[in-house]
């Protein structure tokens, strides 16, 4: 049992725990906190996979900005305990079991996938073959320049949209 393995299992457990808490929690704020836990574990896992930049982005942007936004909205709307209405029988009896089924099914397929138990070039250790940011940015600003620019416009639109929508309510 090497450190990567132990680390992996700890983080995996944390992620799954967070996900379960997300579902089970009765207050939205608890769910938000559980999600942050998940995101943090995932960041560590990214590190384990050698994607440092992505790990950083995950923490800074996702956990740091998006989740903060969620928390703020929850606070704004005074979202309280979730009311247990039961309007949709289909969701209760069909959706949830099927969701679990999907989980199991995809897990099964992933387990038996042909990706292989070892990586071709032996990467996977923490320090071996870490991806350099330079390479990533090369890729981003050269081969994927167009999607990059398009995404920035998308963000712009999102900002404008959010402004407009949020304004109307008042």
């Amino acid at each position: 049992m090497s450190i990567p393995f132990i680390l992996f299992f700890i983080c995996a457990a944390a992620a799954v725990l967070g996900a379960v808490l997300l579902i089970v929690a009765r207050e939205p704020i608890h769910s938000a906190l559980a999600l942050i836990l998940v995101m943090m574990s995932l960041a560590v896992l990214y590190l384990l996979l050698g994607a440092e930049f992505i790990a950083a982005v995950q923490v800074i942007v996702y956990a740091g900005a998006v989740m903060v936004l969620f928390v703020f909205v929850i606070m704004l709307l005074n979202a309280g305990v979730e009311v247990r209405t039961n309007y949709s029988k289909i969701a209760k009896y069909v959706g949830v079991p099927l969701g679990f089924f999907l989980l199991l099914e995809v897990a099964y397929w992933m387990w038996g996938s042909a990706v292989g138990t070892t990586v071709a070039n032996g990467a996977g250790a923490v320090n071996a073959d870490a991806v350099s940011t330079v390479d990533l940015s090369n890729l981003l600003f050269r081969d994927y320049l167009f999607p990059f620019e398009a995404t920035s416009i998308l963000v712009l639109i999102a900002i404008v949209g959010a402004l407009v929508l949020a304004k109307k309510g008042e």
Binding site: V83, V96, T117, G161
Partner: protein
């Protein structure tokens, strides 16, 4: 040093995705549902990174990057909509937002 097999990451990704789906169907608060969606996106990110590592191709990381950006934008707009709905209909229960019917 032994290596963590990539398929483990994929399984974890699948589990997280499945839990996200369950949460998406199960929960009644709009914001919580939205968070389940975010969970699904995260699971997909994990899968992307794992594949990127498995094939040694950096393009997977680029996709993850874009996914995070788009998720952020989506969160912004989506939550704005949620706020609007909450102000108009005075409820955060998705089952009360049922005008889209026959």
């Amino acid at each position: 040093m032994s290596v963590v097999p990539v398929s483990y990451y994929l399984v974890l990704s699948a589990v997280l995705f499945g839990l996200g789906v369950v949460g998406f169907v199960f929960k009644r608060n709009i914001i919580t549902i939205y968070m389940a969606i975010e969970l699904m996106l995260n699971a997909v990110n994990l899968a992307f990174v794992a594949f990127a590592r498995a094939h040694g191709d950096l393009a997977g990381l680029v996709y993850v990057f874009f996914v995070i950006v788009v998720a952020a934008a989506e969160a912004a707009v989506g939550l704005a909509i949620v706020i609007t709905i909450a102000h108009n209909r005075r409820t955060l229960n998705v089952e009360d937002v049922n005008l889209l019917k026959f």
